[in-house]
C-alpha cells in the first residue's frame, strides 16, 4: 500500500500548493491549515521549509488514542478516517508525536490519509507516493 512521503523537502519553495490542494480536493474548503500536509519555515540553521504530515506509524498512537474509532489503523501504517464518528476531543492531535494532526477552530482533526491528491500540485516534486517497505 502506498503512502505519501515528503522526500525532497530541501527543494520546497513554501508555496503551500500541497496544503491548498489537500484542503480543496479532500476536505472541500479553502485553507492552508485544514489539510493533511502543512508547510512551515524550518528556521534556524536548516533554512527552507518543513512539511508536517503523517509518518505512517504502525501502530499509530493517534488511532490508539481515538475513543470512537473515527481514526483506525491503516494497513501499512497511518490511519483511515471516518469523520462522522469524530467527537472533536483532540486526543488524536495530542497523541501524535510529530504534530502531524491539525485541528480547526471547531476541533475537527485533519490528518493525511495518503491519497496522494497533493503530489501533482508540488512544482518541485518534493512529494511522492511510495510503497511501504517490507
Amino acid at each position: 500500500m502506498k503512502h505519501l512521503v515528503a522526500s525532497r523537502m530541501e527543494r520546497c519553495i513554501g508555496c503551500h500548493s500541497c496544503s491548498l490542494a489537500c484542503a480543496r480536493l479532500v476536505h472541500k474548503c479553502l485553507s492552508w491549515e485544514n489539510a493533511g500536509i502543512r508547510i512551515q519555515s524550518s528556521g534556524g540553521l536548516s533554512t527552507g521549509f518543513t512539511a508536517k504530515l503523517c509518518l505512517v506509524c504502525d501502530p499509530a498512537p493517534c488511532a490508539a488514542a481515538c475513543p470512537t474509532g473515527s481514526l483506525k489503523q491503516r494497513k501499512g501504517g497511518g490511519v483511515t478516517q471516518n469523520k462522522k464518528l469524530c467527537i472533536q476531543c483532540g486526543k488524536c492531535a495530542a497523541a501524535c508525536p510529530v504534530d502531524a494532526i491539525a485541528q480547526d477552530r471547531q476541533g475537527n482533526p485533519y490528518v493525511c490519509i495518503h491519497c496522494g491528491s497533493c503530489v501533482e500540485f508540488c512544482p518541485h516534486d518534493c512529494l511522492e507516493m511510495r510503497e511501504a517497505e517490507g
Binding site: 513554501g14 508555496c15 503551500h16 479553502l30 492552508w32 477552530r105
Partner: protein
C-alpha cells in the same frame, strides 16, 4: 466565494478598540486597488498631515485572493510621507493568504498607539502587544523575535518596520515575511508615525468553496498553464535579474546615478552571475507555485582565523540596479551585502539606492560637503555604502534627515536637482526613454509597474504622442483589474479578461464578471480621484535634467517628445481626476 459586502476590520490604535464593518461596493470596486482607493477616500483627511493619527493605513485583498494560483498579493494604501497624497504599494509573501484566512477583505488601521506596539490579528484574535523592547531593532531581528514570540509558524504574516520606519522616513518600507516588501512611497514611515512596529496576522480560518467540480477543474487548468508551460520560466529561472544584462546591452541600465547607461562592469552583476555565484535557493509567495523569490548567499570573513558569517539576501532586478549599477558596485557579493544592510535598516531599496547615488554625486560635485554627510561616499565603495545605509535609515544628522524625506527634498535644500534621479519618487531601473520617464514621473504609484512603459520604449513604436498616451491609459486600465483581484502582475498573460471572468463566475460572482470592463474604467478613475483629493496636480511634475542627458540605444532623449507626452498624460490624468470630484463611485 464572492460575498455581497466587503468585510473590513477597522483597528483604532489610539483607543485599542476595533470594529468589523460590512462595506458595500463589491460589484463596483471589486477589491484590492479599487477597495483600497475607496477606503482611503472614506477614511483619509486630505487637509491634515500624512502623519496625523487619523490617517488610515490600509491593507486590501481581492475577490480571487487564495482561490486561484498567483492571486497572492496585497495592496497597501496610505497617505504618503513623500508627497502627502494617496499612495499604493503592493507585496506578496504570506500577507494575502493570511488576510484571507483571517476572514477579512481589508484591514484599516487608524489612530496612534501610545507606546511602540505590535498588532496581533487573526480570525479570532485582536491583540495590542506592548513592544518597547523591539523599538530600534532592525527589520530582520524584529522578524526573528516575533517568530519566537507568536504562534502559527508558516500560516501567518509578519509585517514590520526597521529604524527607517521608526524615523518616519519617506523611504521606509514595510518588510513582509523577510523577503518581500511594501517598498515604495514610505509605508514604513506611516507605521512608524503610528508607533506600530509590526502587524502579525494569523491565517487560522478556512473558507467555503463552491460545490461541484467546476471550480477544481478551472483551478487545475490555470495551475497547469502556470507550471507546465514556459510562460513563467523567466521568473523562476534567473528571475527578474535576467534583465540586467539585457538593459545594459540596450544602454538603458542606470549606472552611477545615471551618468552612464552601460558599463563593462555588468559582467559582475548579471542575472547569471548572481545565479552561478550566489543563488542559494528559491522561495515563493503563499499560493504561488512559480517561486520567483531568489535568495542569494554571501559569506564574509570577520576574523583572520577563517571565521565567517553568512547572509541570505533576497535579490531581484530592482535591488541589484539600486545597490549595484546605480552605486557603481560590480561584484555580486558586495551588492548583496549592501542590500542586506538596506533590509535591516528597513529602507525601500530603490529609493535608498537612488538617494545614495545622488548623495555620492553631490559630494563629488561639491554640492554637499563631507562635513554635512559625515562620511565620504564613492561609487564602487561598498564599505562606505554599508555605513551610509544606516545613516540614511537612522536619519543621524541634518543631512540624512533631509534626504530621508526624499532626494527631491534634499536637492531643494542643498542643490543638485538637475541630477536627482527622481520620477515622482526615486527612479526604478529603466533608462529606456521618454515614455517610461513620463509614465513613472506622473503615474499613480510612480512605479515601473503602473504600466509597461519600459517595454513600450523597447518596442518599435513610433514617437507618436497619441499612440503612447493611448497605451499608457489602456495598460493602466488592464493592470488595475489585476491589482484589484489581487493578482501578481507576473501572471498577467495567464489572467486575461476571459479567464478572470471564468474565475469570478465559478465563485458566484457573475455580476462582477459581467461588469468587469466598466469596473476597470471606474476603478482607474477612482484611484486618480483618491490621489487628487490630496492635491495632486500632474502638470506640476517635472522630469529632471539628468533624464534629458541620457543616451540609450535609440540615441539621446528627445526633449520635445518628452514634453509633449508629459503634457498629454497630465491632461488625461486631470480628466480622470474629475477636476475635484472626489466622491467614490
Amino acid at each position: 466565494m464572492i460575498t455581497e459586502n466587503f468585510r473590513i476590520l477597522e483597528v483604532n490604535l489610539s483607543t485599542e478598540r476595533s470594529a468589523i464593518k460590512n462595506v458595500p461596493g463589491v460589484e463596483t470596486v471589486l477589491g484590492g486597488s479599487g477597495l483600497a482607493a475607496k477606503l482611503h477616500l472614506e477614511y483619509s483627511r486630505p487637509g491634515l498631515a500624512w502623519d496625523d493619527p487619523s490617517q488610515p493605513l490600509i491593507f486590501a485583498i481581492g475577490p480571487l485572493t487564495g482561490f486561484f494560483p498567483l492571486m497572492s498579493k496585497t495592496v497597501c494604501a496610505f497617505t504618503s510621507p513623500l508627497h502627502g497624497q494617496y499612495a499604493e504599494s503592493h507585496a506578496g509573501a504570506r500577507s494575502a493568504l493570511a488576510l484571507r484566512f483571517a476572514g477579512i477583505d481589508a484591514l484599516v488601521v487608524i489612530g496612534k498607539a501610545e507606546r511602540p506596539t505590535v498588532l496581533h490579528l487573526g480570525a479570532n484574535v485582536i491583540e495590542f502587544m506592548e513592544a518597547g523592547y523591539l523599538w530600534g531593532k532592525d527589520a530582520l531581528t524584529t522578524g526573528k523575535l516575533l517568530r519566537r514570540i507568536l504562534k502559527g509558524s508558516g500560516h501567518r504574516t509578519i509585517m514590520r518596520i526597521g529604524p527607517a520606519g521608526e524615523n518616519k522616513s519617506a523611504m521606509a518600507c514595510i518588510n513582509v515575511d523577510t523577503y518581500r516588501h511594501f517598498g515604495r512611497l514610505g509605508g514604513g514611515g506611516v507605521m512608524g508615525a503610528k508607533n506600530l512596529k509590526a502587524i502579525a496576522i494569523e491565517g487560522n480560518n478556512a473558507l467555503e468553496l463552491p460545490a461541484g467540480k467546476e471550480y477544481a477543474n478551472l483551478f487545475v487548468d490555470i495551475y497547469r498553464k502556470l507550471t507546465d508551460t514556459d510562460m513563467m520560466r523567466k521568473y523562476h529561472n534567473l528571475g527578474t535579474a535576467s534583465n540586467l544584462e539585457a538593459l545594459n546591452e540596450l544602454k538603458a541600465l542606470p549606472w552611477r546615478n545615471l551618468q552612464a547607461t552601460s558599463d563593462p562592469g555588468i559582467e559582475g552583476i548579471t542575472g547569471e552571475r548572481f545565479a552561478d555565484d550566489t543563488l542559494l535557493r528559491n522561495a515563493a509567495c503563499a499560493g504561488c507555485p512559480v517561486g520567483c523569490i531568489h535568495i542569494g548567499f554571501v559569506r564574509e570573513k570577520f576574523h583572520k582565523d577563517n571565521q565567517y558569517l553568512y547572509r541570505q539576501v533576497g535579490y531581484d532586478y530592482e535591488p541589484i540596479f539600486a545597490t549595484g549599477s546605480m552605486l557603481g558596485l560590480t561584484h555580486a557579493p558586495d551588492v548583496l551585502t549592501v542590500m542586506d544592510e538596506v533590509e535591516k535598516a528597513g529602507l525601500d531599496v530603490m529609493s535608498g539606492g537612488v538617494a545614495l547615488a545622488w548623495a555620492t554625486e553631490a559630494l563629488e560635485k561639491g554640492v554637499v560637503t563631507q562635513e554635512q554627510t559625515g562620511i565620504d561616499l564613492r561609487f564602487g565603495d561598498a564599505q562606505g555604502y554599508m555605513r551610509a545605509v544606516h545613516m540614511l535609515g537612522g536619519a543621524v544628522n541634518d543631512f540624512w534627515r533631509t534626504l530621508a524625506g526624499g532626494t527631491t527634498a534634499a536637492a531643494a535644500r542643498y542643490g543638485g536637482g538637475d541630477f536627482a534621479c527622481v520620477l515622482g519618487q526615486e527612479m526604478a531601473g529603466y533608462a529606456t526613454g521618454e515614455v517610461f520617464y513620463v509614465a513613472q514621473g506622473l503615474g499613480l504609484r510612480h512605479s515601473h509597474l503602473d504600466t509597461g512603459a519600459y517595454t513600450y520604449d523597447q518596442s518599435k513604436a513610433p514617437k507618436d504622442v497619441d499612440k503612447a498616451l493611448a497605451f499608457l491609459l489602456e495598460d493602466e486600465r488592464e493592470r488595475v483589474i489585476l491589482t484589484s483581484m489581487v493578482a501578481c502582475l507576473f501572471a498577467r498573460k495567464v489572467y486575461d479578461p476571459e479567464t478572470l471572468r471564468q474565475c469570478l463566475t465559478v465563485l458566484g460572482g457573475q455580476a462582477l464578471a459581467d461588469g468587469l470592463d466598466d469596473a476597470a474604467a471606474r476603478i482607474q478613475k477612482l484611484r486618480w480621484q483618491a490621489r487628487a483629493a490630496g492635491g495632486y496636480d500632474p502638470m506640476n511634475v517635472r522630469i529632471p535634467k539628468r533624464f534629458l542627458e541620457v543616451e540609450t540605444w535609440k540615441g539621446r532623449t528627445d526633449p520635445q517628445y518628452l514634453e509633449e507626452l508629459r503634457l498629454a498624460y497630465a491632461g488625461a490624468i486631470r480628466e480622470m481626476c474629475g477636476q475635484g470630484d472626489v466622491k467614490p463611485a
